[in-house]
Symmetry: C2
Subunit: 592 residues, 2 copies
């Protein structure tokens, strides 16, 4: 029942009007002219609307099935996957040395949003592969890269990340999976991993598992963890597939959403593994990939909001019920379309203003990542590192909320399976949990990232906003609707940070008890900053007479909405933070 259309114009606006990528001086971004990106995004959009989205409900309804150790993905998934491979999408931003197209992360993020919005469960298969590709590409030996990457880049092999065990998720120091060194330099991997997305399936010839495990005798806790490559099928010297390795899927998780993706219990029964990166430095290897993976989940979060909004909007224009109190808008019909009602409008504007702001924020993050990788820009690297937990935590919380709002637009229909909105809610929910729960993101932000470079990185972020406000203060089109609220919100953020600095040293709980609110406060400031930039770009484009004036007017009005209706949340978050740790920690455990 649902449909999806790639928001190509909105993405083009961000890439070229706002981020101005082709003049950003970053190798790789410079070459992306508007015609090229448009062609790529439209092509991705066709695949998304025509092939991936129609399978979204199929995947939800059929789910995956484990039969005699083999996982069957939903009907049509394999054929669709082959089309994605044929289009070269799997290796879009991968290293050309291994068959990739070498495109920037920024473009890959746009395509990622399109594919994920169309079918999140489906896209996770390649998403996880990409994480495994990154791990091998960054930490593997030349031989490892040559053995695994070409097949992973073309998509004939896929990959997984194996971290969680029943007794440990966040606290990986508790890992029990063992890696015993063998005489031939390989390791014998034994243990059980759970919640392994795409751990087993029927879409690729081989699956390359990346597994965290402990080598006996190593240091305790996270310092004794190493990372291993464990292929499902051993790879012969000539690249052909050899024996089946001793790794198998022991069960599929039944879960709230993303039914089309196989969430596996993986049993390693003395499987052959190959150390990747340094011994006992597996956590470090994992963390180097974390930024990109978390940015990817941030994109997943708001992308479900995007597709949910599109369908809510269509419903609100189509469904007639009641009359506009200021006068009938559809007098020849029995009632007016519900979009005339102010409260429906509020709901839709919340969805629209968030998702468009979120996209700008996530793409800014991707641009910073490209800048850090391609221009060796340490400042950009630090800034994206600061913003990553905000992009992951805030955009997934609000993305989920957006799917709930969209579901609400449909009233009773929103609760039915038939209309499809409820699936977006169920699918979006996982983004708040995996790749580090949003609580963990907030701890990362407050506990690690605020102190990055002795606090210089966050000060640099405040400076960015201050400078932007200063430079544009004379612009009356921006002053009242954008710059003033941004200034107030930024003041709340700085006030909250100051509270942490003044109180967190004496009692770390003073900072930790406010971390979640701080993450949201930070997110609102970032979206306010993005909307101010979008408004500026829209005014400039209008002044230049380029493009469609109505499009830019819509951007400006949507931005005004965000500033007026969403940004006031910063005062609330600040007040909560400044109420301190005492109310949060008042009860003894046994008083609960």
């Amino acid at each position: 029942m649902t449909t999806y259309t790639a928001p190509v114009d909105d993405m083009q606006f961000i890439l070229h009007d706002v981020l101005q990528i082709s003049t950003s001086g970053v190798p790789g971004l410079d070459e992306l002219d508007p015609d090229f990106t448009k062609a790529v995004l439209e092509e991705a959009g066709k695949l998304a609307s025509g092939v991936l989205h129609p399978l979204n409900k199929v995947g939800d309804e059929q789910g995956c099935k484990l039969e005699n150790g083999v996982v069957r993905t939903p009907e049509g998934f394999k054929a669709a996957y082959d089309k994605v491979c044929e289009g070269g999408w799997i290796g879009l931003d991968c290293d050309p040395e291994y068959g990739g197209q070498g495109m920037p992360n920024l473009l890959n993020s746009c395509v990622g949003e399109i594919f994920v919005a169309a079918n999140m469960a489906f896209n996770m298969y390649q998403g996880l592969s990409h994480g495994a590709y990154n791990a091998i590409h960054t930490h593997g030996t030349t031989e490892q890269k040559q053995t695994y990457l070409p097949k992973m880049v073309e998509g004939t092999w896929s990959g997984t990340m194996n971290l969680t065990e029943p007794q440990c998720g966040t606290d990986l120091g508790l890992i029990r999976t063992k890696a015993e060194p063998q005489d031939d330099g390989t390791y014998r991997i034994s243990g059980q991993k759970i919640w392994i997305s795409a751990g087993e399936h029927d879409m690729t010839d081989n699956i390359i598992h990346l597994v965290l495990a402990k080598i006996p005798g190593g240091p305790d806790g996270v310092k004794g963890i190493s990372l291993f490559i464990v292929p499902k099928f051993m790879v012969n010297e000539d690249g052909s597939l050899g024996e089946r390795n001793a790794v198998s899927c022991g069960g599929l998780e039944s879960k709230m959403g993303i039914h089309g993706n196989a969430t596996c219990v993986m049993n390693y029964d003395g499987a052959t593994g190959f150390l990747i990166g340094e011994m006992h430095k597996g956590m470090r290897a994992m963390f180097t990939m974390m930024n990109e993976a978390r940015l990817g989940v941030g994109v997943q979060g708001y992308s479900q909001g995007v597709v949910a909004y599109q369908n809510a909007l269509a419903f609100a224009k189509d469904r007639v019920q009641g009359r506009d109190v200021t006068g009938a808008k559809n007098p020849e019909g029995v009632a007016d379309p519900i979009i005339v009602h102010p409260d429906v409008r509020r709901n839709l504007m919340d969805q629209k203003a968030f998702t468009e702001g979120a996209r700008a924020f996530a793409l800014w993050g991707a641009q910073l990542l490209d800048r850090s990788h391609r221009s060796d820009d340490a400042e950009a690297e630090a800034l994206v590192s600061l913003l990553t937990p905000v992009i992951k935590g805030f955009l997934t919380d609000k993305g989920f909320e957006t799917t709930v709002l969209a579901q609400q637009t449909l009233g009773g229909s929103g609760f039915t399976t038939e209309w499809g909105l409820e699936q977006f809610v169920r699918d979006a929910r996982i983004t708040m949990i995996y790749e580090g729960t949003n609580g963990i993101q907030s701890l990362d932000l407050v506990g690690r990232k605020l102190g990055l470079n002795g606090g210089k990185t966050v000060m640099g972020f405040f400076e960015l906003i201050k400078t932007f406000i200063k430079e544009n203060e004379g612009d009356t089109a921006l002053k009242e609707g954008f710059l003033d609220p941004l200034k107030a919100a930024s003041k709340d953020l700085q006030g909250a940070a100051t509270y942490f600095m003044q109180n967190g040293m004496k009692n770390p709980n003073e900072a930790l008890a406010g971390s979640y609110d701080f993450m949201h406060l930070f997110g609102h400031v970032c979206l306010g900053y993005m909307w101010a930039q979008m408004a500026k770009a829209a005014h400039a484009a209008k002044a230049n007479g380029t493009g469609n004036a109505a499009f830019y007017d819509t951007k400006i009005a949507t931005g005004r909405y965000y500033m007026a209706r969403q940004l006031p949340a910063t005062g609330m978050h600040r007040a909560r933070i400044e109420s301190g740790a005492a109310p949060v920690m008042a009860l003894d455990v046994d008083q609960f």
Copy 2:
């Protein structure tokens, strides 16, 4: 995997320490002494924990099945329903003239919370019957009452409410179901109703449908709607069952949650119906039941939060992961229970402070309803009428949010079906939609209820809070933590109401665009008011040396949390409201 324990002590505290029912001067409430209510609540709790809750997951997994026109409820539902009937729970607050126990709505609300928390889908079967009972009891003729009520009160027959049709939910003026007068005084009912909860099932001998329909030739719109009794089986003069009526279930809705309850398409193919109440006054008849039904949905909303919180808390005490940053709390174990972490604590406190405040608010509403019915108190009636959309809208929005928070406490386990938390989220979601979406509640609040009695009712509400603050201002135990934030929140609410008054006359959209925020603002003020009263009652009980001091200390600390961490939301809602309708209505429909 989940468990449920009735919160008897918490309920006793509200009934006797806070609402002080046995000295409230309301007939029926006066007789409810603490020993009696405790015995009733404990008995309900046993049934809920031992019989109803174990069927919660069964109902979700099996759902209902339609086979040859017969709806099969999940295994065990019928046996459990019989136990509920045997205990006399169905007729707890029903008229003794028809076999009921004549208990106040307040006590029924407590039992309702317990049953709904244990198994919402199951409890809806009797919940809908209760609505139908009310309609017949209030509007039926003596003969109609004698024919239907005794069987409905004992539970051998159930009832339904039939409002929605494919083309109309909120806008009932668009109803097409026809009721043609017959020579014998009956009506021939033809049409299709959708989303009829418990429309068909195998738990009772007969189902009494209450159906809104139009008598041809009547006025257009809602003024031409009449209400009819349409029994599944005709009832013979001696009370025995006669022929099957021409009403049947044409399909079951597949939906996000409450799978254990049959949501039916009902086809009326010239069924025999009996007019109930006045011709063309069907909407009025429905509305007289609305307050109670909506209060009931408010209870459903927070009750899912209650059971979700109980399970999240158990997990947080049991699951060990990481260490308390201020020093290990479980040094002999490999890690500390996650409840030591401030952000987990924040999450749990949000759940606890909301659900306990919500219960107090809903029970206050029930007490007002009893006062209005049993003491013919017009002021109480007006006040509960004002508060009803807030209880329905705010408590279901926040109840749903609470289930999401509880799910988050469990991390990845929260997303799995096995742990059961995700079911609470899916089940709670409907409460924001049915019995009038929460958007509709906010319109009811702002469009109808604020103007009740020329605004005197809402002024009376403000006065209540003002008086409470004034009377207790000298109490240093309450001043800073409770009265000051309540005063600030109440000021925000009055400010927002003033904004509506000053701007809504010129342009109704100025009020309507802020209605949803106003409903939440109002809800926070009410919960703040309840927590202030609970804190006062707890201090008084401590001073009297009655009961368990630790219990009262916990109440006070939980209240402080609400005031410090939740009440600051009022400023945000007010700012959103005062930003006016312009940002909300800025876009033309085709700009979306």
